[in-house]
Symmetry: C2
Subunit: 499 residues, 2 copies
């Protein structure tokens, strides 16, 4: 049941809950262009904090940023056989470079301005980048090349959802070039471990499982794909980042060779890796509640909101004054604060308003509390309220922000663990995934073939999210027999219904 202020509850309709939350929390909006979203200031502020944290990690691991063209010549997609299968289908195709007045009224593409070769709006940039690297790499001394780009990409998705699946989205894509397979392997894992996992767990407060994708789920054109997988509150898996070891595939497709230390020509090894605005969808799915968005403190554009009360000017002067004293101290400590000075809205309205937008801490500053030398500090994640002495408020709030960040991660981890199980019979497996909704993570044995993976997916809608790099329990790494075919299996893999 949705009202002007509230949103549908998760239990009532999880999907509606998500859609309404994104709109009412001022994170994003639909646009006039099918499948494209508007990222509103509050949502974009979150994305800027994500970008800053990730960018710092990329730079700390030796990467630099650059920018490559938005357009990719059509023929480039024809060069890497697997890649064309994966990416040259649903995409935005530019065919003309001019509009002219239409005799029937309005404007039309000018037939005389038809491009000799169509341009594709990049769905990902491996092809245009490796075509460029060809000119930049001659010798082992030019390697490694460790470049990242922040950009928009377009994939013409048929069914779109704000943040989770949009025709245009924002992302970063790293594209690195290396002299050896081993070096590229180290790079792909460095990104997975030191950037993506760290970011998901320490900033988003979302626990993730690191793993390698099956052949069926890997990136089109990769040797192998690493990923991090998170769990949503409706018990589905959501991929939160991928890091691909591309082998020599793109170097061969674009003829990128280098003279190695032994003075021999060799093809370059590559990685690529990316995370996108989809992470905002992941964040919502992991933490939010029926009152709206719940943001981890590290990523909230506003970390603390002050609501000073009082109907008469003299009282407001007191409560605003007390708010300012505390907020100035917080600002000095680098905390992002906001004071809600709107005069026509009630405190109750303001509480709901900022709860919907996920602000981690609310400080209620009322005249009676001030008489007692205190304010009320409310946590968004738990709803807990406490009375804090004015002099202690700034310190207590900073401690609480750290505590909220930690508690959000711990709760998400507990939730994931409680919804992860091991299944050893096909009957139980089918039953587990029988309902419409998600069923958590299921660790089961699989014979390693794409054929079996496909049959399982058809029968249950559960797919292999990843083969964990580290077993969740030691026994997960022991061999067994495939849940469907009974053939030998090397280890348990994670099955789930996925976003």
């Amino acid at each position: 049941m949705s009202s002007n202020l509230g949103i549908t509850s998760r239990s009532e309709n999880y999907s509606e809950w998500y859609n309404e939350l994104v709109l009412k929390a001022d994170l994003a909006d639909y646009s006039a262009v099918r499948g494209c979203m508007v990222i509103k200031p509050h949502g974009y502020g979150l994305w800027e904090l994500m970008q800053r944290a990730l960018d710092d990690m990329f730079k700390a691991t030796g990467h630099v940023n650059a920018y490559f063209p938005l357009f990719i010549p059509k023929s480039f997609f024809e060069k890497e056989a697997e890649h064309v299968e994966g990416f040259a289908k649903e995409c935005a195709v530019v065919t003309h470079h001019r509009l002219k007045p239409n005799p029937a009224g309005g404007l039309m593409p000018d037939p005389e301005a038809k491009l000799s070769e169509e341009l594709i709006v990049r769905p990902t940039s491996e092809t245009i980048i490796w075509n460029t690297y060809k000119d930049w790499i001659q010798s082992y001394r030019d390697l490694p090349l460790l470049i990242n780009q922040w950009a928009n990409v377009v994939r013409w998705e048929l069914r779109t959802r704000l943040f989770l699946r949009t025709a245009e989205f924002l992302w970063q894509e790293g594209h690195t070039a290396h002299a050896t397979f081993e070096e590229a392997e180290t790079e792909a894992l460095t990104i997975l471990n030191e950037c993506y996992t760290k970011f998901a767990e320490e900033y988003m407060a979302v626990p993730v499982i690191k793993g390698v994708k099956s052949e069926g789920e890997k990136f089109a054109g990769a040797d192998h794909t690493y990923c991090i997988e998170a769990m949503t509150q409706d018990l589905r898996a959501i991929q939160a980042g991928t890091s691909h070891h591309l082998g020599q595939n793109f170097a061969k497709a674009f003829g990128v060779q280098f003279v190695n230390k032994e003075n021999q020509l060799e093809y370059v090894y590559a990685t690529s890796w990316g995370v996108s605005t989809r992470l905002i969808g992941t964040l919502i799915m992991a933490h939010s509640d029926d009152k709206g968005f719940v943001s981890p403190p590290k990523l909230s554009p506003i970390q603390v909101v002050f609501v000073p009360m009082g109907r008469d000017e003299a009282t407001r002067e007191r409560t605003v004054g007390a708010s300012t004293t505390i907020s100035d101290e917080l600002k000095k400590a680098g905390i992002r604060v906001k004071t809600d000075l709107r005069e026509k809205e009630s405190p109750g309205f303001k509480y709901n308003y900022w709860e919907m937008r996920g602000i981690p801490i609310r400080v209620e500053v009322g005249p009676r509390d001030l008489d007692a030398g205190t304010v009320i500090v409310a946590r968004r994640d738990t709803g807990d309220k406490e009375t804090v002495a004015l002099a202690d408020a700034a310190g207590r709030i900073q401690t609480l922000l750290d505590q909220i960040q930690k508690d959000m991660f711990d709760r998400a981890l507990e939730f994931r663990n409680a919804n992860t199980k091991r299944v050893d019979t096909w009957e139980e497996f089918e039953q587990t995934f029988a309902g419409e909704g998600g069923a958590g993570f299921v660790l089961a044995h699989w014979d390693g073939t794409t054929e079996t993976e496909n049959v399982i997916a058809e029968m249950t809608k559960a797919t292999i999210r990843c083969i964990p790099l580290t077993p969740l329990e030691p026994s997960d790494a022991e061999p067994g027999t495939c849940i469907l075919t009974g053939k030998p299996s090397k280890c348990r893999v994670i099955f789930a219904k996925a976003y």
Copy 2:
């Protein structure tokens, strides 16, 4: 004369000098897509510093960032009459959303995936944004809306030049909404004064003249356009930023009305303003020399480069050690430093290499100087070298960085003043602009009509760059007679050949 290391001199061929410099300084590269550039890491690092400084200024003046779609429905361009004239001509038109195998080989746009309405890759976003604002603005309480976006845009330019004029470029575009004409006017001027002028002069070290554009040169769809104009070393004008007061034009085109305090429906007032990667071209044109790029310290991705010398390991250990001591101290002070540890390249090669890339200060660390307890500190802008005691080095370098920033601005200002003159006869005016090249800024009287402006442009290639907001000399504000027609003129305006 261009060699492997050097570039054509400015006096020999200014245009070639510029093109070679951009490539050899590792700022940008040509791409496989006509008119689109690759911004290389060194150039992108510069852009990131520009972004950071500008973004901080936008936020300090109350703005927030958001993101709007890349695509604009064709019909949106038909809604604002002047705007369609200006922007709906040379643009990238998306007509299909899928590729399919071509029976003749390769891929082709799928005729079954033709869009019912073509999409234009945004050349600027007024239309899609005002279509969105329609839903966001109902009451005066929703105003002002102070939003900026960092984005890529595409204008299908016929003649392109790296940074200066590319089919795709990166920029920021601010789009604000206000309740009154006066408030929008204040906004447009705040951006011009507190952001753009400040950025150009304090960061880029480029003096600019603030002015208003003539009707003929204003933004398509604006009420009036403010701009800042800089001078290049070949004596042309280059526009370094524009801030438009859009009046109610876009609000009317997209039906954006609000209920004002008097409870009446009224159309919203708008501004838009932008600067782009073209600023990098401006920067090069303002300061660089025949040895390559000269970057102002505040925008150089590397501010100080250390070149430790020595052929044997023991010597190198000493010189690298001394470099590290100084560079650690600089890093602590927030200075961006780099030590060139390449072993196979000579010091001379390295000097040229970093000079080409514009690094403001080079520190030469040689064994003999170390014996004397000193290093050599060389300025990129003047070529001056000085011997500095090891213990004083970090302090001296910081002072020098500030000095270089200041000196670069002062020299550019002196250059501009020396190449600005007042002309009062048509004969002298024609003669001034007779040559192929630029002729500096000419302050002359003009009768205020677009007709006269066009005739002057046809006859001399000189255009009105702006009507200065503040007279350069008090007499510039006095009335006179038009240089061409002899009709009355309110004040002198700036004529120049422009990029």
